[in-house]
């Protein structure tokens, strides 16, 4: 019990400290890959851009991102316009009604269960009427976003430098 409480306290403390010190250089991740990750999610910049991946990743090896770093393989494709889907709040409201439905189904509150189901159906049907044409992020913006978060680095050094920074802390 006490140990669990301690764990909770440290988790809260960790979030508080992270928020307070968020602007200090040692706490900022500008590479997108602070821990020498091996998998593709570490290959995108930080904070993750809305389009996630500038190119659809071409996976040639197991743990392709690690392999690319080890062999110095670089992305050579040029940046292209990215067609994004339209923003929508439909998913959020489906979630709200699904919560109401789940609660009502557990506690046998039938009027609320029906209201939840009808709400979900109404939102899904309403959403199907939307144009959902999306928008374009121009290639120049993509390029700027990718380069802003990617100071040129050789990965091994960045890892070592990162450890130095953490030790200084």
């Amino acid at each position: 019990m006490g140990i669990i409480a301690l764990g909770v306290a440290f988790q809260v403390a960790q979030i508080v400290v992270s928020v307070i010190r968020r602007d200090q250089p040692a706490y900022r991740d500008v590479t997108g890959d602070p821990w020498e990750g091996r998998t593709l999610e570490w290959s995108i910049s930080s904070p993750p851009p809305v389009y996630n991946f500038a190119h659809v990743p071409a996976v040639l090896e197991l743990d392709d991102f690690a392999h690319a770093k080890e062999t110095g393989r670089k992305e050579t494709r040029s940046f292209r316009d990215i067609h994004m889907p339209s923003n929508t709040s439909a998913g959020f409201f489906v979630g709200v009604f699904a919560l109401a439905f789940g609660f009502a189904a557990i506690w046998h509150i039938w009027w609320l269960a029906i209201a939840g189901l009808v709400g979900i159906a109404a939102i899904v049907i309403g959403y199907s009427f939307a144009e959902n044409a999306g928008y374009i992020i121009p290639a120049a913006t993509v390029k700027a976003t990718e380069e802003r978060n990617r100071p040129p680095k050789s990965p091994a050094q960045a890892g070592a430098a990162r450890e130095m920074e953490l030790e200084v802390l």
């Binding site: 316009d81 067609h83 049907i125 199907s128 144009e131 044409a133 928008y135 374009i136 913006t141």
Partner: protein, 201 residues
């Protein structure tokens, strides 16, 4: 981040890949197949478990079920006609065939609800025995699918009325519903064969 909202036609020209909706819908249908397969397996296990209550032979009325089958099979045919008209961009005919399909589907459901009410009135509700539990779960799930299909059909008909050009999006959605409708038809043929005919023989 600079961004611009697009008119729909521009977005379609720009899209690098064709829509994957129809493939995704096939995947959904395969999962639905698994659902029905497990319900059929359950029914097969319970086929003789009447717990001393009314049996299938006592209560099934094959001529009503045959009429239900005829309505549903015909509705698949009329949906096929709607799809042909959709390919030819004949909006009026599409709506007319969808309307006929809706009537046939609604007629099927009306007969099914009637049948369920009759069974429950005869004391063969889902609580009576394992057989009737399995029967109502399997046939009821199929009926629920048909109900959803009818709601979907009305939604698509309204969208076609609002945007009568039979564009790619409308035809694609109609194609998905068409797959769904034919799928329900195939499931019903299995219901008719394995549930009704097999229980009476």
């Amino acid at each position: 981040m600079s961004q611009s909202t697009l008119p729909a036609h521009h977005a379609q020209e720009h899209e690098h890949q064709p829509s994957h909706s129809v493939f995704g819908f096939w995947s959904y249908l395969m999962t639905d197949c698994v659902l029905f397969a497990s319900l059929f397996a359950t029914f097969a296990m319970m086929a003789q478990q009447f717990a001393g209550g009314p049996t299938a032979k006592d209560l099934f009325n094959l001529s009503d079920v045959a009429l239900e089958t005829a309505l549903l099979l015909t509705s698949s045919l009329t949906f096929g006609f709607a799809m042909i008209c959709a390919q030819r961009k004949n909006t009026g005919a599409v709506l007319a065939w969808l309307f006929v399909t809706f009537l046939l589907g609604a007629g099927f459901l009306w007969l099914e609800v009637h049948e369920f009410a009759h069974l429950i009135a005869e004391g063969a509700g889902p609580q009576r025995s394992a057989f009737w539990s399995a029967f109502f779960t399997l046939v009821g799930t199929h009926g629920l699918h048909v109900t959803m299909g009818l709601v979907w059909l009305v939604v698509l008909a309204v969208q076609i009325v609002k945007k009568p050009g039979m564009d790619e999006r409308e035809v694609r959605r109609l194609a998905c519903l068409s797959l769904f409708w034919h799928f329900l038809d195939i499931v019903w043929i299995c219901v008719f064969s394995f549930v009704y005919l097999a229980s009476v023989v």
